[in-house]
């Protein structure tokens, strides 16, 4: 009997192929939308972590209060001891010091006179240590466009777009004009080792990357750093764990009475993105919920019309002697089969598209060229375990419910009435 019903289902495309396609399309769109929204949000979080705050960030209390001004005069000092402490107490993360600074980059001509000048936002990071995590965090090697990576002190990387604007090439000498942590003006000569393109608009517009030691010397910040940033080893931001670590550190090491005592903050709090992330997360949740509900209604309706259309056939089956319960159960099994087949197909196609966009991404660089948000030019989808379930369950449930509700008509109507519908 099951084989007989299955045969009918497979042969009747309006009962099998089309409903499966509808379910697959709805599930695919849900899966894709969820992974796309996930990816966009994760991209923002990841770029902000990599280029600005880390997953957690340690700075002085005073620096924290004016962090948007990059107040290196309030920077951490004696960072070697602090780094040792952090690495010892919180091995779940790797720690690296950074100095973020602003200044002017002066390009001299052959006579040493200023030829070009531009404001830059710079980062002093651990560039020269062979085991420096910054290579990976800042994605430096793949970002290199011209020249080579810094091999010795005095060499810097400069954003490709900035280099183009200033008409400078790798190997040329440049001078950084900035202020020391004590407020005096400083000049420091560098050689351009290479140019980089990170694919993050604010970095690509005006960034220079120098070794931490050079910047410590240039800004008179020996053994100092604006921030020590920490990253979870899997490069994912774990908010709960970050909060626990932050609370623990602040309880142990931060003194509210000392504005130069270190304080730790999480990506959410330090970046100032807390409200934005909450909003984006809620908004994407609402979009996704609305989409899933709409999709469920569409699939439910498809199940409903599919079953209503078959009242005549059902009448015939009942007339021949099939039991009402058996007809109803067979409809449920059919809808379950359609729901599962459509959901598997939709999830597979949706995940495949999402995975493609996770690997290759979608370039929105033309839209973000003037953006100050630390968001990548290439938005990628993000496939995660929930991606496999987000469309699957509504796909099955909606189809099943549609058939279940329409099937009640079998019980409510007289068999003769169902049968008449076959003749109309």
């Amino acid at each position: 009997m099951i084989e007989f019903l299955f045969k009918g289902l497979v042969r009747d495309r309006s009962r099998s192929l089309f409903p499966v396609l509808i379910v697959a399309a709805g599930v695919m769109l849900t899966v894709f939308l969820q992974s796309w929204l996930n990816g966009a949000l994760s991209s923002l979080i990841q770029s902000t972590a990599h280029y600005r705050t880390g997953h957690v960030c340690v700075m002085t209390r005073a620096y924290n209060e004016k962090a948007d001004q990059l107040p290196n005069d309030l920077a951490l000092l004696g960072i070697d001891t602090l780094l040792t402490t952090l690495r010892g107490q919180y091995p779940d993360l790797f720690w690296t010091p950074r100095i973020t600074f602003g200044g002017l980059l002066d390009i001299p001509d052959e006579k040493g006179e200023t030829k070009e000048q531009a404001p830059v936002s710079g980062m002093g990071v651990d560039l020269l240590a062979s085991d420096s995590p910054e290579w990976k965090v800042l994605n430096i090697r793949p970002a290199l466009v011209q020249g080579h990576l810094p091999k010795q002190q005095g060499e810097i990387l400069i954003a490709e777009a900035l280099a183009g604007k200033l008409h400078i090439q790798p190997g040329q000498k440049v001078t950084l004009i900035s202020s020391t942590m004590y407020g005096s003006m400083t000049y420091y000569n560098f050689t351009i080792a290479g140019t980089v393109r990170f694919g993050v608009a604010p970095m690509d517009r005006s960034a220079i990357i120098a070794d931490l030691n050079d910047i410590q010397q240039a800004l008179d910040m020996q053994h100092g750093a604006g921030e020590i940033v920490g990253f979870f080893h899997d490069d994912l931001y774990h908010e709960d764990r970050a909060n626990v670590i932050t609370e623990d550190f602040n309880t142990r090491s931060s003194k509210s009475s000392d504005k130069f005592s270190p304080i730790m903050g999480t990506l959410r709090t330090v970046s100032g993105l807390a409200d934005y992330l909450d909003f984006a997360s809620s908004f994407s949740g609402i979009i996704l919920t609305v989409f899933v509900v709409v999709m469920s209604i569409v699939l439910w309706n498809a199940g409903l019309t599919g079953s209503l259309r078959r009242y005549g056939e059902i009448g015939l089956r009942l007339a021949i002697g099939e039991e009402t319960g058996h007809v109803y159960r067979s409809m449920m099994v059919e809808s379950l089969f359609i729901g599962i087949a459509g959901s598997i197909a939709g999830t597979a196609i949706g995940v495949a598209i999402a995975y493609y966009l996770q690997v290759h991404g979608f370039d929105i660089g033309s839209m973000t060229k003037n953006s100050t948000m630390m968001i990548s030019d290439v938005i990628r989808a993000q496939v995660e375990p929930s991606t496999f379930a987000i469309g699957f369950l509504p796909g099955i449930l909606a189809t099943f419910l549609g058939a279940a509700i329409s099937g009640i008509g079998i019980y409510k109507r007289q068999t003769s009435q169902l049968f008449k519908e076959l003749e109309t």
Partner: protein, 244 residues
């Protein structure tokens, strides 16, 4: 080709297959109550070839539906093969139809996605008959109606007459005691109508299957042995017709 009569039909040759007493069926149409059947007293014995005739709306189909346990009476009693239709549950009614009643419809009502063989096979699947016996019964039924060579065809590939013969094969494949046919020739031309009636008459004689038709087709009326005329839900005439 003669159909093998494996199933023994219960009861004596003159036992009652259908017995209705003061059968009423009302339909509510807004504030009006339409009396589709009005005090029908009818008794049909085993092996009869009976025609319910009358104009459209006279209650022929309603009576067939109630006898076939597809519908329930408003008042009165209906006994089919010893079972009171008005008190049957869904399950019991399905069992009665499945085991003892075959249906033939005006529009054939073949399942279009199944082959001729599978359409005829369907009632046997419901009865849980095992595959080898099922195949043999289906082929016997198809040979009886002269369509064994079209077993693998789809209904869409058949003419109207062939489709109705498949419907007959589906109705008789399980060798029911009672076959109910609602306007079986209404969609057929004269030649096919005569062929269908001859086929059913032959089955009636060979298997002693009781046939009850609802029809207003003059071509068919000549074949029935007993003609019950319904007018406005009442039996107006009940007459035995001479054999041709």
């Amino acid at each position: 080709m003669e159909l093998k009569t494996e199933a023994a039909n219960p009861g004596s040759p003159h036992s009652s297959v259908i017995k209705t007493h003061q059968l009423d069926k009302d339909y509510r149409l807004g504030l009006t109550i339409l009396k589709a059947l009005n005090h029908i007293d009818l008794s049909v014995t085993k092996g009869e070839f009976l025609g319910l005739v009358g104009p459209s709306g006279s209650g022929k189909t309603t009576l067939l539906n109630i006898v076939g346990s597809l519908d329930t009476p408003t008042r009165g009693t209906v006994e089919v093969l010893g079972q009171k239709v008005e008190s049957l549950s869904h399950k019991e009614a399905a069992k009665l139809r499945n085991n003892h009643i075959g249906f033939i419809f005006q529009t054939y009502n073949l399942l279009p996605v199944y082959t001729v063989f599978e359409n005829v096979e369907f009632p046997l699947l419901l009865l849980g008959i095992e595959t080898p016996r099922r195949r043999s019964m289906v082929m016997d039924a198809l040979e009886w109606v002269g369509l064994a060579d079209r077993a693998e065809s789809r209904p869409a590939q058949l003419s109207g007459g062939q489709s109705q013969r498949v419907a007959i094969a589906r109705a008789i494949v399980k060798k029911p005691e009672l076959v109910l046919a609602d306007e079986p020739t209404a969609n057929l031309d004269a030649e096919n109508s005569h062929n269908i009636m001859k086929t059913m008459l032959q089955l009636n004689e060979d298997l002693a299957t009781t046939f009850v038709f609802a029809t207003h087709d003059e071509k068919v009326i000549g074949y029935v042995r007993r003609k019950v005329t319904l007018v406005d839900g009442r039996i107006e005439k009940d007459e035995i017709q001479p054999r041709h």
